[in-house]
């Protein structure tokens, strides 16, 4: 089985669970921004949840199958089609020899994940095949570049694991309630269940939103780090106001805009940064540090988003409305373990 890239789109990357045990060398984590959707795409094929797949941001990618190939798609609805016929996100399907899988533009969510039997075949660099463009590590060529026209994607296995074929070809009910905010589009308008087709995006969104505020995405934050350096008023503002996802967003960090927060601490000595850290530079506008963040930094932080909330944020378009909600580390761990347990089904 081989897929040939016919059109590359703005940002399609090979991603897996990211690099481990390398941050003390200044090397970033990388990996799937919405790790839950990658996990579900892999689940549909019987792969490990963090097996290498393709992260398609915004769309534009098109792939031609050179032989019949079993694939799975999850995450954002990027108006995917097979030879022009709409293909719903959240299912396993066969791309027949000569057929083209193409991604249009974002209908709901930002990042779609394509899984291939056994995971995308590539030589790992420092233990991972994930592409980190900024560092020039990983991907098909080992140099971290994005997918390019004429690239060829191979799976590490010829076909899906037998176990997966006993699974339904579509994502289960449980997946729907944990899918990231795929209904949240620009301006915080929910696209609703219809736009996303088979996957009931409307329901998924409702499950992750603030009660009574349908179009606002809830981001759970484990308080910590320098949170005590923020004034009471600022903490009130941090958790009570509605923030907007800014245009300035990439795999390193996503800015939120709103009424600024004040921190008594102006500068601090740089220290290690966990995934989802919510740092507040002097302009008072938080930046959520994501998968490709730098390994150490010197801005005060409120704490860090849970991994589930990072996945949801990765699907938010600029303009989306979000709220920060405090969550205990115990609860965050419980929810994380629950997510991992679902993939054992």
């Amino acid at each position: 089985m081989t897929l040939r890239v016919e059109r590359a789109g703005p940002l399609a990357l090979v991603v897996d669970g990211g690099r481990r045990g390398v941050r003390h060398l200044g090397v970033t984590q990388g990996g799937a921004m919405d790790w839950i959707s990658l996990g579900w795409a892999n689940w549909l094929l019987g792969n490990a949840p963090d097996a290498a797949g393709i992260e398609v941001m915004v769309g534009g990618l098109s792939l031609v199958a050179e032989a019949d190939t079993l694939l799975a798609l999850a995450g954002a609805d990027l108006a995917a089609t097979v030879d022009g016929a709409p293909l719903t996100s959240g299912q396993r399907f066969t791309l027949k020899a000569g057929q083209t899988l193409a991604f249009g533009g974002p209908q709901s969510g930002l990042r779609a994940y394509l899984a291939i039997p056994g995971g995308v075949l590539a030589d790992p660099v420092m233990g991972s095949v994930t592409s980190t463009v900024r560092e020039g590590l990983g991907g098909l060529d080992g140099q971290g570049r994005t997918l390019q026209v004429a690239d060829r994607l191979e799976g590490a296995d010829r076909q899906a694991r037998q176990a997966s074929l006993a699974r339904p070809g579509q994502l289960p009910e449980e997946a729907r309630s944990t899918l990231p905010a795929s209904g949240v589009t620009a301006g915080g308008v929910a696209a609703g269940g219809v736009a996303a087709g088979g996957v009931a995006a409307g329901e998924a969104v409702a499950g992750e939103n603030i009660a009574g505020e349908k179009n606002i995405v809830r981001l759970d934050l484990v308080p910590g780090a320098q949170i005590h350096a923020f004034s009471g008023t600022s903490l009130f503002r941090a958790f009570e106001q509605q923030w907007q996802v800014d245009q300035r967003a990439d795999r390193m960090g996503i800015r939120l805009t709103g009424t600024p927060l004040d921190c008594a601490m102006s500068g601090m000595v740089s220290e290690g940064i966990p995934l989802g850290a919510v740092q507040v530079p002097p302009d008072g506008q938080p930046i959520i540090l994501m998968n490709d963040r730098q390994t150490i930094g010197g801005y005060p932080r409120l704490g860090a988003l849970t991994p589930q909330s990072c996945a949801r944020l990765a699907q938010c378009m600029p303009g989306a409305a979000v709220r920060l909600a405090p969550m205990s580390p115990e609860r965050a761990r419980h929810e994380y373990l629950q997510q991992l347990a679902m993939w054992k089904m």
Binding site: G21, L25, G26, R134, G224, S270, G276, L340
Partner: protein
């Protein structure tokens, strides 16, 4: 006793000090050893910086309170690691205005000439405090107080690989082309990050670095790139290019 602070659902910061000092490094490195000994494979990441160590635990195996208990036990009675244990690296640098455009600026601040800036930058050994910003990038210091120079108001969009710079009382080498706001003094041909190298990076926290001035011919003979440093551009969109 170091403080243990929660920074994420699966991460703690071990805070040992509040300010940057070369004398702190042996303590930070000793803490890294203790943490690795206490947690073994349960520590997914152990990231030392100037005054702290970030520990990401394997949350599937271990809950945060238990990690905290094990770490406080391990860090009790911490003794500094031998200060001489780090490797001393000699780094040849071609100091020249074409690749170190801030040489005149630093000279002006010191009220002296470029040659003296070079002499003073090469006069002391620097400690590697932390790796970060980019693979293999070492934050080093401290440069003499009189030479301390703030970061550029507008960072460059592209700093050439091998560039040697200073910011405040720190000095560093850019391992790869990247945006950056440090004052550039020269360039080295030494590779700081090499995926073929055992351990990948040339520097480790706690190592010591001595810069040695070389001329253009020697720099070229070592494979150095003499392409002049392009001018100052605009800031990165997300404000992450702090170094």
């Amino acid at each position: 006793m170091p403080r243990l602070e929660t920074v994420a659902f699966d991460s703690l910061i071990v805070r040992l000090f509040d300010r940057i000092d070369e004398a702190h490094m042996p303590w930070v490195l000793a803490a890294v050893d203790s943490i690795r000994d206490a947690l073994g494979e349960l520590a997914l990441e152990v990231v030392p910086s100037y005054t702290t160590v970030l520990v990401q635990i394997d949350i599937k195996q271990l809950a945060l309170p238990e990690a905290r208990a094990r770490l406080s036990q391990a860090l009790m009675g911490l003794e500094p690691r031998d200060g001489e244990a780090g490797t001393l690296h000699e780094i040849p640098v071609w100091y020249d205005v074409s690749v170190g455009p801030e040489l005149p600026l630093v000279a002006e601040r010191l009220g002296t000439d470029i040659n003296e800036v070079i002499q003073r930058h090469t006069a002391r050994d620097y400690s590697v405090f932390a790796l970060g910003f980019a693979p293999g990038y070492g934050f080093m210091g401290l440069i003499e107080e009189a030479m301390a120079t703030p970061r550029l108001k507008t960072p460059r969009q592209k700093v050439a690989a091998g560039s040697v710079g200073i910011a405040d009382r720190q000095t560093a080498i850019y391992p790869a082309p990247s945006p950056g706001g440090w004052n550039l003094l020269g360039r080295t041909a030494v590779k700081l990050f090499d995926r073929q190298r055992e351990g990948y990076t040339l520097f480790r926290p706690g190592d010591r670095v001595r810069f040695v001035a070389i001329d253009r011919e020697a720099f070229m003979a070592q494979g150095g790139d003499t392409t002049p440093q392009p001018g100052v551009g605009s800031e990165r969109p997300n404000g992450e290019g702090r170094s």
